[in-house]
Symmetry: C3
Subunit: 356 residues, 3 copies
């Protein structure tokens, strides 16, 4: 795919999409233009991520990609909180988590598995990722259980939300210390160790500095184009009678994660499954352990306090996604069928949300 | 046990049981005759499975056994659907899943573990089995959660059921492609690799063709005798005041799985634990991913649409069975105590269903 | 720490605490005296456990420690049952299980992990521990589900409780047969195998007989001092408006497990992580599979029948504790961050119980 990213076409569709958004093109036209633009900027991001991963190692590259991808979601979330649209924020958090764990990871394992019989990545990292996912669902599940079985004051609801959010942020920051500093080597990619033995790999097209610059630039472009595309969906939502929760949890999540999709799948096909998993699993962990808790703190700072209590179906969706993803990733080896199982669960959840 | 299967006695008790059924013997006499016949035909099936497993490899032999065993259950299920007895169908699906995962697997691990200190089977297969089990409970759990928390139209209930059933059937068929074609070697039995090194193993008594013929014949006989035996239970149910759900989920499941029981235990004692696990786990997966979804499609075809929504206690029973079975099988090695733990959970569930 | 345990100071604070309790010192003074005494007797117990572990192997030493520690809890529990304080008994069972699985294990992994990059223990034992934990929560979960969804007679409630309790006790006793007799070697500590290669280890200060004697003595002292300390908490409970369930599940559990804390942490720092896990996980298994079921039988014997049905929040707390502990321990290797994750979950639960 990356061969076809002409800088000229990229710039053209990005600008056209911008004009379409601000000049208020008819919805259908704006949708088409934005969708084409998303494909180009996502391809650009995928190439930049791959180049950075070449210099930085698979995991750090994947982490950077996940972080830039989620920065956009954080900004959109805060905008929604200011409007008091808490349900849509939580639906989109839910959608991002399950979209990454099921769709991005599933497509990556499937595409990578079609080309490579078995793909392996660090089994210790797989175990740690699984434990972090469990902590994330516990943090969402426990307040919901307590608040649904006991009547609490408004201020206690908020204090539980803030305490749990604080614990999650602390856990995430210490995870960075653990995985990037104290135990970096133990979590290193299987492929990284063998990297010097791969003489057939092409040198990246860009220098290290340029790769990082392009990664930032591509992420910003993706964030903008995604939002313009999402904006056009309102019309479709109304026209096709879709519920806000379905749009938030599936349509927004699919489009908003287009960058992760293309980057992760591209890396998986190149047998860099460690980086693909880091993008998919790492991104959903980042949302659950960092982006969502930060939103709760910001919501209090701007005087529109949002609690951490998700609905039963949202919790069920996140819970089953974590269980199947943990079960599939925990042995550190993947194949095409495991990718299909993740996609199957995504379809079951998607159809259920669609009907609600 | 197999030494005592005289063809003459086998035929005699099978025919006596048939006469007892169609000539309407007194219930107690019919029960005794059928129970003795079950022992003989189950022994015959066990021997045939073992012989086929010798020629086909442990896993394929186990798969054939599970398939023939479940054909009978599918037929019985469709008969019940025609009568509109949906609750009994679901109870018997529940009972088959937990009976295989807990009782058949538990007795196999226990019996095999008493003779062999540690038994090993392919750890990759164990992981894949675990993931498939998780997908199966997600597929039952998600519609139940959504339909219990939201009011849906009758047609939406049916459409969720059909979509989920379709996804499960597709997942099962692709699992066959994966496990029998694309990744057959990776999932091969540990013991298969070492098979040539076992000169002390007796050659099977039957040729390959004869073994397959006998496997089919024995399965059909088991199906008939099981149904005749189940039929006699109605009287006992009424006499002892047992609930239909208990009879469906436990008595029918124990008797109906007599074939799997005897075959799996016999294989486990001979240290062919891979085939025993394939019969037990594979059979429950086949029911959850194929037999049950096919029943839903058939129910729509014959104009008695059945949905996929199980009761809370059925879901709980299936859920805990999957969790303990997954926990016990996932390391690819088993011992007698792990078998006991499965039986302990079966007893807890059985007593709870008995009281309801 | 052990260097500072002067026998004189130990005896002095123990006696002072006894006098404070029976002579009814002012609550604050009694609290301070008891707290200091707990530190001394816990240190004494830690040293005795370590010495016994030197002679008996890590696992047996850990088992003895857990057993003596839980004997005290059994006695306190029976006293509470006689008063009919079933809610407090169940809260304290809950607190002991999650306190051991999250706080004791978490602090051990954290402290041990700060000193040793990666600590390993027997991965087969880890798997068995995980399966036993799953059986324990199934045994608590299944009766609760059935009794909450169906109306049962009082006698059926009791019979479910007794049957489940009997199954758990049988499972626990057979676990001892399995782990101490038939499969002892397979579950041996990783470090035990390498023990002879550690010439730098100091010989223990005490003989084998003396170590065992001191272990018993220290356990008895811990039991007494813990109870005196707990007793002073009533005043604080009232003064600070804490709920009984919070005090039972957290304050009592922290103080009552002071012995396990100090022993397990000390062993973890010395890289005897197998013994530390045995104390923490083994102790919570002992409570769930043996102490709690025995309490139910005793409650029937003394004519104050207690059922096995825990509240929703208690079940949720035990369930999430088991899931995260199983996820973290199942690969047989631990690090400081995994300890922190356990502590994070403990804090989330603690704060939630605090607000209720």
């Amino acid at each position: 795919m990356k061969k076809y990213i002409s800088p000229g076409l990229l710039a053209f569709f990005f600008l056209l999409s911008a004009i379409g958004h601000y000049a208020r093109f008819p919805a259908t036209l704006e949708f088409i233009v934005s969708a084409v633009a998303v494909i180009f900027v996502a391809g650009f991001l995928g190439k930049a991520t791959e180049s950075v991963a070449h210099y930085a190692g698979q995991r750090l590259g994947g982490f950077l990609n996940a972080t830039f991808g989620n920065a956009a979601e954080l900004i959109i979330g805060v905008l929604l909180i200011r409007e008091g649209l808490f349900d849509m924020v939580k639906a989109s958090i839910t959608g991002s988590i399950i979209g990454n764990l099921l769709l991005v990871l599933g497509l990556s394992l499937f595409a990578g598995g079609l080309k490579h019989k078995v793909q392996r990545y660090n089994v210790t990292l797989a175990g740690m990722n699984g434990s972090l996912m469990i902590v994330a669902i516990i943090a969402l599940f426990v307040p919901a259980i307590f608040l649904n079985t006991h009547v609490l004051h408004e201020e206690d609801r908020n204090s539980v939300s803030l305490v749990v959010a604080g614990i999650l942020i602390a856990a995430y920051l210490l995870w960075l210390v653990f995985s990037m500093i104290t135990h970096k080597k133990i979590l290193a990619d299987v492929a990284d160790n063998a990297q010097e033995e791969l003489p057939h790999e092409h040198p990246p097209a860009w220098s290290k500095q340029r790769s990082i610059l392009y990664l930032v630039l591509a992420t910003v472009m993706v964030a903008f184009v995604s939002e313009w595309l999402v904006h056009t969906l309102d019309t479709f939502t109304a026209r096709f009678g879709l519920s806000e929760i379905f749009v938030g949890a599936f349509v927004v999540a699919i489009v908003g994660n287009a960058a992760e999709h293309s980057a992760a799948i591209m890396l998986a096909i190149k047998n860099k499954i460690g980086a693909a998993v880091e993008i998919a699993v790492g991104s959903s962990l980042q949302i659950a352990l960092f982006v969502a808790p930060v939103m709760i703190f910001i919501s209090h700072l701007i005087g529109r306090p949002m609690d951490i209590v998700f609905t039963v179906v949202e919790l069920a969706a996140i819970g089953v996604s974590v269980f199947i993803a943990k079960s599939i990733t925990q042995d550190g080896q993947t194949n095409w069928y495991e990718g299909l199982l993740l996609i199957a669960v995504y379809c079951i959840l998607g159809y259920s949300f669609y009907l609600v």
